[in-house]
């Protein structure tokens, strides 16, 4: 479902009196789900994000959102995501109201999410929301006048993570079409890999899933992508596909997922990326990880120029800058 060519947004920001801003396609929109984005939308976001990257590299900060205020509302802590949105707003000259202790105050007194959001949005021009429950951002958006950006709602969506993953591929390899993307690790529980797989289905990409049997990519997702005629292969070992891989997307295999710890010990070595594994990879490819990692990529891979996982954080900054500018009518 595309939102970029939808009729003028129901959301009006009284602080942007300039006519042309009100006609900007993303002005006043909510960012709730990767399903909002079609291929044209993604290309637009990445175009803006690329401009943000160039501006940051050239001048560090600029005043595109000077005078705008972001309410950064986190019902559960997420240091990285919170810091990334804060930095994005500050690098655009805007200000941030950090709201990290929601759980201690009004909410603890039984207040509903719609009430909290309608109170807090009074102070801000845009609201970023992190919440442990699926659908929280959509609920908030139903009530809010200001745009809502979903910064993760439970096992639901975390659209800016998926967008930054895709933007990383686009920036690092110069294209998305024609690539072979291999996802490795726990493909069953990770909303990250689910959202990325869905986004990739908008492009001409081959997907490999490498996971132990109990942590395979869910059938619903494989089925969904099959309908779009996406080439997908499942493997239990990385060996067979590492040599053809352009993007190796690594996720953590948690010991607690295994009923019998012996089974974990048996498989875990197969899903750990070391500099030995990297010897069998292409010269031009990238290794990604949503971070934090805990052992599934060994530190001896860090100096490898193909290790893109820290740069990935930085691309997240540019994507979030782009989205903030877009929903505030400034891009």
């Amino acid at each position: 479902m595309s939102s970029s060519y939808a009729p003028p947004s129901r959301k009006q920001n009284p602080h942007l009196p300039f006519g042309d801003q009100r006609t900007a396609p993303w002005y006043g929109k909510d960012i709730l789900s990767v399903r909002q984005f079609n291929r044209n939308d993604l290309e637009y976001v990445f175009g803006v994000a690329h401009e943000m990257r160039e501006m940051v590299e050239r001048v560090g900060t600029f005043d595109l959102l000077k005078g705008k205020i972001l309410a950064n509302v986190f019902y559960e802590p997420s240091t990285r995501t919170s810091a990334s949105f804060t930095a994005a707003m500050e690098r655009l000259g805007g200000s941030v109201i950090p709201i990290n202790e929601v759980r201690y105050s009004s909410v603890a007194k039984g207040e509903s999410l719609p009430d909290t959001i309608r109170s807090l949005e009074c102070y801000a021009d845009v609201v970023v929301l992190r919440h442990p429950e699926v659908g929280a951002s959509a609920l908030a958006a139903d009530y809010a006048k200001k745009p809502i950006i979903n910064a993760g709602d439970g096992v639901g969506e975390h659209p800016t993570q998926a967008l930054l993953d895709l933007f990383t591929i686009s920036e690092e390899l110069g294209r998305i079409d024609g690539l072979t993307v291999t996802m490795v690790g726990d493909l069953k529980h990770g909303r990250t890999v689910h959202s990325l797989a869905r986004l990739l289905s908008l492009f001409q990409v081959r997907l490999n899933y490498v996971a132990p049997d109990i942590l395979r990519m869910p059938k619903e997702i494989i089925g969904e992508l099959e309908e779009r005629a996406m080439p997908q292969e499942e493997h239990e070992l990385l060996d067979k596909v590492i040599g053809d891989t352009d993007v190796l997307y690594v996720t953590r295999v948690q010991k607690e997922r295994f009923q019998d710890p012996a089974n974990y010990d048996k498989v875990q070595g197969s899903y750990t990326i070391t500099s030995d594994v990297m010897k069998r990879a292409k010269d031009r490819m990238i290794v990604m990880h949503p971070l934090p990692r805990v052992g599934e990529i060994s530190m001896d891979v860090d100096p490898d120029p193909r290790a893109a996982y820290f740069r990935q954080m930085e691309y997240g900054l540019y994507v979030r800058m782009a989205l903030l500018a877009m929903v505030l009518g400034k891009a």
Copy 2:
């Protein structure tokens, strides 16, 4: 007790070298209690707050306090109040030092409030203080060189809440004199309604108190207002007065206040505002609530244009902007 025509403040802010600022009547003053304000003072505050509203609606943010720093010192969490002061400072171009974890650090080591305040004020131009103990702000103000704004001290005062309540009435209905204000719910424990009643006694207003017997407005307050010849009536049910009410100020009736839960069940329906209740109210009137609400105004009232409780939050922003500008000599 008026403070606006007092002799030049003992508090000097070295960062404001311009002579005229030092003669501004509120420059360097503390905001500790609603008792500081006479009717002239209130009209002055509301005049500045109204200008703030117009500026925010027109341009969003402006640089009146650029370069000024607010230390937002919260000994107990209060998301809304903290966010409101943060937004107020940022909308005026100033910066905020958020200090939310006072309890975890020096204070936990036994440091006194005067020492904490004298340390933290070194970094700031103005200090907002929230503290669980009555009189904390006055104590802090005795020691501080920079202006202190009381953001709530236990069951004591929360002057900016009372000011925003009154400002809401003034902005929404265009006047205060001549109105009938009906307070409903728990009138015994709420410092909000106590402070508002005191402020209203500076105007020509009729007050109705609607509460179950065990939660009636305290005799001291009724007595205090009687001395000022204020018309006051007590009722157990809303029916009799809803039709004449210009301002319906709703507060929460907490189940825990009742020794016998059956008594709570008996009364609570009488103190819940529904769209049915609103049918019997005037066409031009407003419903207010200090928020958070938990059921005492049903959500079907929210779309009613008379429902002013979310707009009330926004008026709080303007009042706090006004106070910050005033004590920093910029209004």
Copy 3:
């Protein structure tokens, strides 16, 4: 070990394209330990800090670091230090990403400090780090591309505290050479007095140590300063030296340090500074304390102009402004 004349820093900040900044001696440097500073370095820092003081006193805030972002990463709470760095950055027109809940999130999931720092530095131009473990800042600096400023690592170093202590002496008394500095209280456990003693050994200063027997200055430090031919004397009582003291540096004697509480009761009066004690002190001298104090300086000393402990906080602001400007190539 001096770092100021070292070869160009390995750290490059891509956001500062101007050639001359890259040749600024402190540009891109880490501030990890007082051992980095020789006497020339200190004079340079204090010269910049003094300029910062004059600018703040004259105009409050200025835009030297406009567009720069500080990641203020605190693994343990320290209200004062965190607030001081925040204020320092904001008074220079820069922005701050406050990261106070590291322990609740990625770190709780087992992430290593190098990974956390490499993620967070993506968003910032400079990182301030407070961590409970000795050597944490040096470890972080090994991995980070952006400059790291140590804001305290366990019982290890807290270099900005030591620098502000020395700067306080320099500003208040106009010189350091020729002074008699008396340290009183718990000289065994305080990293503050250890670092200050080391820094003072770069000057022509006489040191008196006044402490109960079980809390004497450690032999290693006395030995280290003896090698530099520094005049040092140990005393059990303050009486003998108070009359000759230019700087009285007071630290807290904690009851818990004494196995037999009776021993604490016996000595503690000797290490409490009262206005009576101050009668025997010089007319021109200063009393310092790292704060928080809990009784070791009685409140009747506060109005004494020689009581410099709250001004000391303010000097900390100027020193931190200086260091931020220096490592960002702007001083």
